[in-house]
Every structure is written in C-alpha cells, then in structure tokens.
Symmetry: none
Subunit: 193 residues, 4 copies
DNA sequence: CATGAATGAGCCTTCATTCAT
DNA sequence: GATGAATGAAGGCTCATTCAT
C-alpha cells in the first residue's frame, strides 16, 4: 500500500525530471508532467502540494541519493585527502553520467522563485556540511592547515565544483569532466595544506 | 541628441536595477520600470528591443564597468600574485558595497530564461578571460605551476568567488566579505603553486 | 436495516449542517462532509444522488420539522390572530435558537444554483400555504378584511419575516428577535384589518 | 477622455447584465462578458479590479440610479402616505419593466460569495434608509403611529416588497406586479396607522 | 519622439463523482 | 455495504508588446 504510493510518487518525479530536461523550466506545465507520468492532472495533487513542491521534492530526492552515495564512499576512506578526492570524483562523474539531472539542477531549477531557491538551498546544506566535515577531519589528522576557515573553505570548494559542472553544460559537454578531477583535487589539496 | 538618448538609456537601466532590487525578478514588470524611470511604457521599447534586452543591457553595463575597474587595477600590479589578490579584493568589496547590484546579479538575474542566461554568460566571459590572463602571467613569471590547466582553474576561481558572494547574500549579509579576502587569496595561491 | 440506513442518512445531514455553518457554502466540499460524518467520500453517494441532493434534503428535513411545529402549534389556537402570532413567534424564536440553521438557510443555501433554489422554493411552499390558510381562516372568522388578496399577502408576510431574520444575522445578532415579535405581529394584524 | 473611460465602463456593465441574465451567475465567465462588450479579456481588468468588482459595480450602478429616481419622486410628494405609495410603485414597476435587471438582482446576484453579498448589502442600505426617512416623516406629520419601531418596520416593508418581486419572477412573470401596488400599499399603510 | 490604452495567449488548481477492491 | 484513490474539465487573471494619436 505505502510502497504503491511511493512507487507513483517516484514515477511523477521521474516524469518531472524528463519533462524539465526536455522542455526547460518554463515549458514544463503540470499537465505535461502528468501526461508523461501517465496519470491525470489531479492525481499530481494527491502526491504533491503544488507545482513548486514537485520541484523541491525532485531536488531533495536526487540530492539525497547523492549525499547517501557521498557518505558511504567517504566511510571507506583512510585519509581526508582520499575523502576529498572521492567527493570531487563523485560530484563530477555522477552529473556527467546523468546529463538530465545535471541540466535540471544546474540550469533549470535555478530559474525559479526565491521561495524555491531557498528550499533548494536547504537541500544542498547537508552536502556543504559534509564537505566541511572532511575539512575538519583533515585538520584533526594534521593533514590540512589548522588555520583554515572551514566555513569559508567549504564554500570555495562547493562553488568551484558547481561552476565546473555549469561550464561543462553550457559549453555543450564537449569534453570529459572526469578528466578534470585530478587537476581539481590537486588545486584544492594544495590550497588546504 | 545622441547624448540625450544615452541619458535616457541609463535612466531606464538605473530604474531597472532599483525595481529588481526592490521587487525581485518576478515582481519587476516593464510598467513598473517605466514608472520608476519616469517614462511611458511604450517609450521603453524605443530604447530596448524587449524586456530581456533591458536585463542583458543592465548586466553588460554593470559588469563592463567592473571589468574596466579590474583591468585598470591589475595594470598597476607588479606580480601575478598581487594581481590575483586585486581581483579577489575588488570582486568581493565591490559587491559588498553595492548590495543592490549584488542582489540583482547573484540572485534575481539568475531566475531568468536560458536565453538570458546565455547572454549573461557572454557578458561574464571577459571577466573569466581576465582571470585566465593573470594565471598565464603567473606561469610566465615562474610564480605559478607550469602544469596548471588554466581553462579549468579560471572556472574554479570564478566559481569559488561567486559562491562566496551568493552565500553571503543568502546568509543575510551578517558578516564582512572583505575580511574573507585574505583566506580566499591564500587558498587560491597555494593551489596555484 | 432500514432504520440503520435512516440513521446514517441523518448523520450525513447533521454533518452537512455543521460543515456548512462552519465553512460556508463554498467551503463545504463533499469530502469535508464525509469526514465530519465519519464515512468515506463514496459512501455519501450510497445515500444521496449528488451534492445538490444533500443540500435539498437538508433543507427539506429542517423545514419539514419546522412546518410540523407550526402545524401543531396552530392547531391549538382559537383565533386567526393568535395563529398568526404563533407563526411569527415560532419563525423568529426557532431561528434565533438555532443560529447554525438560521445561518445555513438564510445566508449559505441561497448562494446556490438556480436548480437548487427552485427545489428550496418547493420546500418553502407548504409554509407559505400555511400562512395563507391562516389568512383565509381570519377572513372566514370575520377577523380579517374580506378584500385581502391572500396570495399577495402571504408573500408580504413571509418576505417581511424572512428579511427580519436575515438582517438580524447580518447585523451580527446584536439584539433579540424575540423582542421584535410584538411589533411585527402588530404591523401585520393592522394591515390585515 | 474621462467620458470615454466612463463610456467603456458602462459598456462592460451593460454587457455583464445581459450575459448574466442570459447565462446565469455561474455561466457568466469574464471572457463571455468581454466578448459581449466587444473588448479583450484583459481590458476588463483596466476598468475593474476583478470579476467580483464587476458584479458589485453593476449592482451599485443600477441601484444608485433607482435610489436617485426614488429620491426625486419623493421630493414632489406632499404626504408620507403618498411618498410610501411612490416607493412601492417605483420598486415594483421599475423591476417589472427591466426583467433582465430584476432577474440579475433578485436571483443571480444572490448566488454569490458572502463577500459579494456584504458589498451588495452596503449598496442596498441607502434605499432602506430612504424607507425609514419616509416612516419618520409620517410620524412627524402625525400620519403614522408614534410608537413604530422604524428600524424594524423598514425591514418589514423592504422584505415584503423584495419577496413580491422574487415570487413574481419565480412564478414566471405570469401576472402584473403593477396591479399589486394598491393592495400592497394598503397593507403597509394600515400597518403604519 | 513620446504616450498609454488595448490586446490576448497561457496555466495552475479544485473538487464532484466514479469504480475497482 | 463501504472504501478512497483516481479522474479531468474548467476559468480568472497577468503582463509583455503594439500602435493610433
């Protein structure tokens, strides 16, 4: 019963992702998402409060899964250096492998109301915190500088990675982001030491 | 005649900046901008092709002035290190001193159509290139690593700075960005060496 | 079996009255009535043809009980004057004592479709006829003028009483309608003589 | 210029009256009113705040004209009796001659939200007050009883007249209301003496 | 050059009713 | 008999742009 509800919930999210990727944020009407999901317009509102709620849920769901992936990957690392490398690797490779997701999160969802952007900000926070935890771990390990401003630095790292993905998309995905992991990690680690 | 045209052109841009800062992107109708500028709605269309053209022009004008400021400031520097420091200083201090401008460029103008965002991307390009030129200069001076991927690194630096400003705005401008210049430059320079 | 059906039928009517009094006509969805009655949405349709049928039934049921009350009260009167006084007394006191009912019949149910209003008109008819019977009785008793247009006068009396209740509700029930019975009856009786 | 605005304002009100009379309250979409008035949908909103505002304005305009008519007619009367007779005459004859208006005010506009009904109540108030002024004049002239409750009696008279018109409409306008003036006035005057 | 009244396309959401379980 | 998830039609309002004056 609950699994059936969950199932339809995800069907609608999948449909929303596809529709937004194909039609852009402003071209994605609720009716289009409903059609893609194979349900009636009204059904959408049994699972989501309103259109904005679909978008927020989409972002939370996708980002939540990524953060889970980050967490489990980092657990197996023996040094903060390795953990940071994992973060960069996953961040860039995951979005490279999910172009629809990358397009929706980097380009389309940002064209939204302030309200929605705040909700998205909340969903991103756990990831930013995760980065900071790695920084703290590095300091404790004695591997990173003790005088780092961890709150500032987590922003520098997140912003840099975020821009790499956006630029890659806008350029038309003409190159491989995976190849950029090494240089990116290198830049960060030198900055941290 | 032309100077009169130029005058009204800038009046409209000033009005647009003020209206967007006060009402947000979605609350900024052409009629509101016209009223703020003291002209009729139709007059707007004697100076701009359409609404998008106002926004693009606004971004180009403001960013153009910033790039001029960057260029002249860098001209007087004796090392690439100093030039990069100047860039960070100006980037953060200028936007800290022009909250309206910061708000409009970092938050509001990003809620726009893909079309507009591409145009904004073009306007940002000269600034990104400027950063790259400093990187090249540093390599030539022997101050920065020769194996830097300058195209990647310029993105890392721009993205990091961009995120610092956005976070500062979203946090409610509770702290001073100027105080963050030192740590930020430090992080970059270590990454570059 | 039938009594069980009757029981649930009345539970739904009671729920409808309460929901309409609390939420107004336009705020009274079938689902809300079902919830208040403690049954599923679909169950409503086992007892009523459609939503309109609930409202008509509600009106008929409540008015029917009132008309019964009118009839039994009038039966015990010895003159037409006394009968008319009884009518006014019951009309105003009953609605004063049942604010929910008054609100629903005078304000909310009138915001309905023509279809529904016609059905309501039919339900009111017996009451109007009752008034006319008292008028005829008065003429036969020689107490009222013989030249009365009974069909017109029954409307004048009903309309006047109806307006008294509506005004009382709209004014916020700041005074007692019972205190107005005397003057009202007085006005009618003089008009009838 | 202002007269042109006034002209279009009235064109829209005329269109609204016609559309509502033909299609009923719930069948009167803004687009239908716009089409009937020969303007674009959006134009409606240059003259009215929203759909409700059209209806309120319609009621105010029509009732305002009626109240003007009442006032000027009463001015020429020499006794309160004559004034009351004028009120009944105009009330019934005007609505008999304007079936569309009668239908809209007595039937359709009452199927509206509480908000709208309150606004309508305000528009009716001046007319109710006018009736009361005649009552007071009658008392002062020594023609009506001094112990009349004028606030109650004005409601009785208004409610009675209102019901006469509604009944006439619902019955299918099968008889003449003008013929009922005499009996109606007679009933009222006896009640007042 | 400037005006501003007029245009009209476009979309989210509600809720009475149904029907498979 | 009872359930409640699913349906899908329907409409008020905004606002960028035009064009007659």
């Amino acid at each position: 019963m609950t699994s059936r509800k969950q199932e339809k919930f995800e069907m609608i999210l999948d449909a929303a992702e596809k529709v937004i990727a194909e039609n852009g944020f402003h071209g994605s009407q609720v009716s289009k998402i409903a059609k893609e999901a194979g349900v009636a317009d009204g059904t959408i509102y049994l699972y989501f409060k309103n259109k904005e709620d679909i978008l927020i849920s989409l972002f939370q769901d996708r980002l939540g899964k990524l953060v889970d992936l980050f967490n489990s990957s980092i657990r197996d690392t023996s040094t903060a250096d390795e953990a940071l490398r994992k973060i960069c690797e996953i961040h860039l490779s995951q979005l490279e492998q999910n172009v629809d997701l990358a397009y929706v999160t980097q380009i389309e969802l940002r064209q939204s109301s302030l309200e929605l952007r705040k909700a998205i900000g909340l969903a991103v926070k756990p990831y930013i915190v995760l980065i900071e935890q790695v920084l703290i771990r590095g300091i404790e390990e004695g591997s990173f500088r003790a005088d780092l401003d961890t709150k500032l630095t987590r922003q520098l790292i997140f912003g840099a990675l975020d821009e790499v993905v956006t630029s890659w998309l806008i350029s038309g995905m003409k190159y491989s982001m995976t190849e950029q992991v090494e240089h990116t990690v290198d830049f960060f680690l030198r900055g941290l030491k």
